[in-house]
């Protein structure tokens, strides 16, 4: 394990990131772009709820719009002076909340080649690599602790348990148990339940994807997530929700590193999904469970293979 010590990334001078402001500002420009000059802007409270932020932020954005001359004040109302230009938009890497960015970087690190199971996680080092403070890393580690990918040892250090065969086995065991349960409930759903309609829609999307698989096979990941979430939604359970969250995360990041046989893998999965959907729609629990079991087994095997094959 080569211990590469990256130089400290140049830090911002300010303490708290202005991501909320920046995103809101850009969104406001979008809204302004749909208006005609001279038109009256919505009031601050209205804007606030529309953009999902506090009025404080809206006011900060307004001040900037005023300063740039996109908006003028007339009496008590704000008028659009000119539409936004391309150059008015704020760019930069900090349009994403810092928390999310660190989480993303950490997850990528976790399933990447620099982290082997049993590895001791060095918070300080990660902070340097990611260009953030130790506090942010610490936050991230704490949040991930219950995912089972990390373990805190007695000396206060974190140990990566990593994407081991054990981990995958336990994760899929859990998924199986919960999904079987959900399937049983699903088939018993009344015919007018909205889930059936959603299922039909998803079925169509699967067909469409299969038809144009050559080009669109990368879209499967999202479809997969939505499909399993629909199944899970009929037996709502926050713990199950968490597990699905972990699964998505793992899948997402793991298969980012591991593109082997991606097209074939997805083709098989799409077909299995369609069989699974047919099973559900048949109303026969045994058929549905059978298709479900088959699909989960394949997913498990695929994941295990990709782990064993890629020891980097």
């Amino acid at each position: 394990m080569p211990k590469v010590r990256l130089p400290t990334v140049s830090k911002a001078l300010s303490v708290k990131t202005k991501t909320v402001y920046k995103r809101t500002y850009n969104q406001s420009l979008d809204l302004l772009g749909q208006m005609k000059p001279g038109q009256v802007l919505a009031s601050e409270p209205v804007m606030a709820v529309k953009l999902g932020v506090s009025r404080t932020t809206v006011r900060a954005v307004m001040a900037e719009l005023l300063r740039r001359g996109m908006v003028v004040i007339e009496g008590r109302s704000k008028l659009l002076a000119r539409g936004p230009r391309r150059s008015d938009y704020l760019a930069g890497g900090d349009l994403e909340p810092l928390t999310d960015r660190v989480e993303r970087q950490f997850m990528a690190w976790m399933v990447g080649p620099d982290c082997s199971p049993g590895h001791v996680v060095n918070g300080l080092d990660l902070a340097r690599q990611f260009g953030v403070s130790t506090s942010s890393v610490r936050d991230c580690l704490n949040r991930f602790s219950l995912f089972g990918l990390l373990e805190k040892q007695s000396n206060g250090r974190w140990r990566a348990r990593g994407l081991t065969v054990d981990f995958v086995a336990e994760l899929f065991d859990m998924r199986e148990v919960m999904e079987f349960r959900a399937v049983e409930r699903f088939v018993a759903l009344p015919a007018d339940h909205p889930a059936w309609q959603e299922l039909a829609l998803l079925s169509d999307e699967h067909e469409a994807l299969l038809f144009d698989l050559e080009r669109r096979y990368r879209e499967f990941s999202d479809l997969d997530h939505r499909f399993h979430r629909l199944i899970g939604s009929v037996a709502p359970n926050r713990f199950f929700g968490n597990i699905q969250g972990v699964m998505s995360l793992i899948f997402h990041y793991h298969y980012q590193w591991n593109k082997k046989d991606e097209r074939l893998r997805n083709e098989i999965a799409v077909k299995e999904h369609l069989a699974y959907i047919a099973g559900l729609q048949s109303g026969d629990p045994a058929a549905a469970l059978g298709a479900c079991r088959l699909h989960l087994e394949t997913a498990r095997t695929t994941m295990l293979d990709s782990i064993v094959v890629s020891p980097s």
Copy 2:
């Protein structure tokens, strides 16, 4: 909801607590108490592994022992000069790691009367109440987030989901699913598996408790935890482990506030446990599952009752 604003608890001057040092020091006194004056102490590395801390800490303790005259140096070895006195022990509330203390306080607050479901958690206020910094509270909240008792809303605030009927339902659903699974594996265990012996031991403990229930019924909580952990241990799964952890925590803190019918509640549970154990030992999956189902149902009902009955 009366918003009581407690005054800031007087803070320690130092930044990091010296709990490790203090606990190690007291433990060392215990060890010294078992020795005779003139005897040679173990070397620093040996002490370090024995006490489960770093040599740095051991050295700090040694320095204090030397200062207090309990130990003298002779050449290269350390000799016991005098046994520890009662007054040599360090007392104080900070023998417990701060993290644990905050966790405990938070949990108590969470299931206590000051926190109703839907309540917005004010980190700053909690920090003041607990006499710690916001960072510590934040850490705690982050760690608890996946337990499902807390939810982070878009504006960065935490909302308590609390011990609602929904929560209990979902928690027990999960428990049921996982425990049934474990039971199936348990009955299929080979006769020479150590779990059988442990089970027999637990059975005896249950009998003993039942025999003297009047006085010892409060010990059930611990027994319950150990029993279910044994069951779970045959189908090891870190997610299930987490769920059991939540269960224990909830039980522990919830029933601290809710002592209603405690003796009766525990008596029923002990008897159900014994039936459950008998079911397992019979080797008949159906019998074991039946007894298990019965017990979990009772536990669920009991918990639900105690929530509904005590809206404080």
